[in-house]
Subunit: 340 residues, 2 copies
């Protein structure tokens, strides 16, 4: 994995792969708004094909994957070819999974076009699709050859999309870098390319240290254990929300667990609540939904031997992982999340 | 990957994985004839679940894979659990793929119960399913934790199944070990556990040297480039044949290419033809089918930049790889395969 800010790096990479085909995976929006700019800046691009999917989480589905594998086969894609994923996390997760399993693995490059994908989804080697309502139930750990970061893609994005990515940026500060938390909190709603790059670097350094999530990478799950359960629950109810909105809720709930189990100071807990509530409105969860959300928690990939394990905070800027928490405690924290 | 001949090794492995669930993937036949024996020899096996699929190549399908992923989720399978695949190549290919992609990868153990799986499919880390009629279009390179070899499973197998595996044993001799070719040829129809172990060792040493098929592993494709095309073509025509029968045909055709392009001596070529014809009857291919078979060749995963590349023989016991051959020449070799 190599994370680059100059498109010439893709050109240089393509020069090595002379003679093979390039495939672009896009959604309707990135096809129109991002792909032309990318193609015009790749003078060494010769033969290429474009595969388009619908935007939205529903696209991370086995039927879509089957169609893409078959399209690649029909277009004569070979194992030595490359897939360039241009889009948000849906496109980079799906495209990474398609590439990592097509003929047992072709290379792929990620060009994230949403803030969330730039600071999180496009890097770290987690690919996947959803199945039976469970997010990323099927996937691989496979790194992109390159990740190309260009903040200008964010100019056309609606605010709600930026907020979604901003949740992950706050998380990077909370688990690993108090300065980054302070800077990102102060800067909002302005999100500079420098802040984006810092977030991406924090994530990359954690992933490099522990690519397969055996240890320190579990820190990145802060906010995600409960957040994913809420996201899956609301998706099943046909009330889809953005990933970052779910993660913001998850961070609030897991910050409370951190206070109880990891000595997160009360004052820092309050600061986290104030900052997150400034950016994100509380989600429409009712007391009677909580048992269903707890059911989704049991699907979590990070569980071990039936226990629920969390990445939590000892203080702002310092996470801890593998913290076992009883279901009854999580239930109380979920109840406390609901505004009175 | 560790290849073992004593079931105690699985026991020892399971002891390390205390507290987690074991899942068995079987087909109807191995469920009845092999699984009870395995379970009764695993005193350390505690909680387990059995997933059953239909026997036959049609099982290596995306719909079957989707059902298995969802069954694992419903049964609460976690990333730290293990899948034990008990069956022929269909079960080990499919089960390896399921395990390597479930929640981004759980461990798996292979217990091959057919000769073909023992000497070929169960080892080497190639997992996969078929899609759109193309064999192994979707898959991963992921090694089993253990491969347990027990020749007693072969006692209930019909002769045609043994012949299918025997084709791969002959191939191992042809590409890497003249002694093994001589011994296996002479021994047939008796197939000793010693011969099986030698074949498995030849394959393992090649795979260890080149796990991702960048170089020497391509030798193992001898007979497979044309063989797979024939197999896919006949499957599409609803005339499914066993893998080994296709590979036997592929080896005859590719031996002719070896004579023309790699100086395989005429006398050795004749010896190969006589030995293979002693075991395998020629397949029902007609002159008018040949162009369709050549179309299937273009799907081959091993192609690079549109060229057809082969692993061929310089002499018995010594293969060469990355040999480019023009389609017109392959057409002639296919014609020569058809009995006059």
């Amino acid at each position: 994995m190599k994370y680059v800010q100059d498109i010439d790096n893709i050109n240089t990479w393509l020069q090595k792969f002379k003679g093979n085909k390039v495939f672009f995976l896009v959604d309707e929006n990135t096809h129109e708004y991002c792909l032309p700019n990318i193609i015009s800046n790749l003078p060494d691009l010769k033969e290429y094909e474009i595969l388009e999917v619908e935007p939205g989480e529903e696209t991370k589905a086995i039927e879509v994957a089957a169609n893409l594998w078959m399209s690649l086969a029909e277009l004569g894609a070979e194992r030595t070819d490359v897939l360039i994923n241009v889009g948000g996390g849906v496109v980079t997760d799906l495209g990474g999974f398609i590439a990592s399993t097509y003929k047992r693995g072709m290379s792929f490059i990620n060009v994230p076009t949403s803030l969330l994908a730039m600071v999180d989804a496009a890097q770290g080697g987690k690919t996947g699709i959803d199945l039976g309502g469970a997010k990323n139930l099927v996937g691989t750990f496979t790194h992109a050859e390159l990740i190309y970061l260009d903040a200008s893609f964010l100019e056309t994005l609606p605010d709600v999309q930026l907020r979604s990515g901003f949740a992950e940026m706050l998380k990077h500060g909370l688990i690993a870098d108090k300065n980054h938390w302070d800077n990102a909190s102060k800067s909002y709603p302005v999100i500079t390319e420098e802040l984006i790059a810092t977030s991406a670097e924090i994530k990359q350094s954690i992933v490099d240290e522990d690519p397969k999530e055996k240890g320190v990478r579990k820190l990145l799950n802060f906010g995600h254990t409960v957040g994913h359960a809420i996201e899956s629950y609301l998706l099943q109810k046909e009330l889809p929300i953005l990933h970052g909105e779910a993660i913001a809720a998850g961070m609030l709930i897991e910050a409370e667990l951190s206070k109880q189990y990891c000595q997160l100071p009360e004052q820092e807990f309050e600061e986290i609540v104030i900052q997150i509530d400034k950016v994100f409105t509380r989600l429409p969860i009712l007391e009677e939904n909580i048992d269903d959300i707890l059911e989704w928690l049991k699907f979590d990939k990070k569980n071990k031997g039936g226990e629920l394990r969390f990445g939590l905070l000892e203080k702002i800027g310092q996470g801890v992982f593998d913290i076992s928490i009883a279901v009854s405690v999580i239930k109380t924290a979920l109840l406390n999340y609901i505004p009175k």
